[in-house]
């Protein structure tokens, strides 16, 4: 049966749906390509050991996971805060260790080894380690900027 006006599709809704999908793709692509200049300079796990020795700076390891809500709050309030990011970049070599157990079924060997070594049982966990890898301080969970700052200040 040919569609009658009773069966016409809502053009406005179709237009809105197309616009939203396009906007979603654009936002996804643009946020992927443009990392913020005001946030922490994360380096890879492999680079971190080399950089820590050459610059004689301790390592900050952020053990995190995509699905972890408090991790995103920590990221927004601390790692994306320009003043905090500047201080972290000046004092530490920052490494982000992202757990992919839930998404991929298993973590890479390097991530699993770091989680074992630093006894990471939950997220977020931030570990401060010296150039030889010895733990100098840690913060489990996220209790606000001040908690993070006090742990960071204790690592001298």
């Amino acid at each position: 049966m040919a569609p009658t006006s009773q069966r016409a599709l809502p053009r406005l809704l179709i237009a809105i749906a197309i616009l939203l999908v396009i906007a979603r793709i654009v936002v996804h692509v643009s946020t992927r390509e443009k990392p913020s200049n005001d946030s922490v300079n994360w380096v890879s796990i492999e680079e971190a050991a080399h950089l820590a020795v050459s610059s004689n700076r301790p390592i900050l390891m952020d053990f995190t996971a995509e699905w972890c809500g408090p991790c995103h709050v920590l990221d927004a309030e601390v790692f994306r805060d320009p003043a905090m990011a500047k201080e972290i970049n000046e004092r530490f070599i920052a490494v982000r260790v992202t757990d992919r157990q839930r998404e991929d079924g298993a973590n890479s060997e390097v991530v699993a080894e770091l989680q074992r070594r630093y006894r990471v049982n939950g997220f977020p966990t931030v570990v401060f380690a010296d150039v030889s890898g010895g733990e100098r301080g840690r913060m489990e969970g996220y209790g606000g900027r001040e908690q993070f700052r006090s742990v960071m200040e204790s690592v001298r």
Binding site: L9, P10, A17, R24, G105
Partner: protein, 228 residues
């Protein structure tokens, strides 16, 4: 695109229902009581549940009871009717969310401090999340009859949660689990604890696409008398 009569009637039918009023009262008690406890607010979960309860009523039960057949003999555009029903149900859920939001604010006022930014974010995320829930249930309702839509909705949610774990035990390639995870993130996205533009876009775009498909399916659906 909308029929104000259908929207108003849908809202009226819900807000004058005793069960809705009792649910609202419980929501207020929860929101006020938990406002000053050091834990995430529980009312968004109850509002999400309300979205499922009200969303599953959009088309399927009307099809089975014969109400839909009576409505569609009139010269109403099917998509307009469907979208107006969705809009009405979404409004009902939003009313509950706003009431819970106000109740939580009152609870915080009693305690002294009102974390308005966090509360507003929770309200926004819950309200947007409800749109996707209702849209998905409408899409499933346009394909099925009675309350099969809510059954499929719940079974799908459980499947998407369980299968990745089973795949992990079976030592299947990680990409298989990732597929299920991506589907889950799109259909049942976890609300972020802050304002998240890309997340809002994800939810709204998925809801809009679900409604377009629902309109398309409903347009072509045969609605004979004595269907059930």
């Amino acid at each position: 695109m909308f029929s104000s009569v259908v929207i108003v009637e849908t809202i009226r039918r819900h807000v004058t229902h005793v069960a809705f009023l009792i649910y609202l009262a419980l929501l207020v008690i929860f929101a006020v009581g938990i406002a000053n406890v050091d834990a995430p607010p529980m009312w968004p979960t109850f509002v999400g549940l309300l979205a499922i309860i009200t969303g599953c009523n959009v088309i399927g039960p009307e099809f089975s009871s014969g109400t839909l057949q009576l409505i569609l003999v009139k010269p109403v555009n099917r998509a307009t009717y469907l979208l107006s029903r969705v809009a009405g149900v979404v409004c009902v859920v939003w009313i509950a969310a706003i009431v819970a939001f106000i109740a939580e604010a009152v609870g915080h006022l009693i305690g002294g401090d009102v974390p308005l930014e966090m509360m507003a974010t929770t309200l926004l995320n819950t309200a947007v999340s409800a749109v996707l829930t209702v849209a998905l249930l409408t899409l499933l309702g346009s394909l099925t009859r009675a309350y099969l839509n809510v059954a499929i909705y719940v079974v799908l949610l459980m499947t998407l949660n369980i299968v990745p774990t089973l795949l992990q035990f079976a030592k299947a390639p990680a990409s298989y689990a990732r597929v299920f995870n991506v589907i889950e993130q799109n259909l049942y996205p976890t609300e972020p604890p802050r304002f998240d533009g890309p997340w809002l876009l994800l939810v709204l775009s998925n809801a809009a696409v679900a409604l377009v498909i629902a309109c398309f399916v409903f347009r072509n659906r045969e609605v004979p008398y004595g269907a059930d």
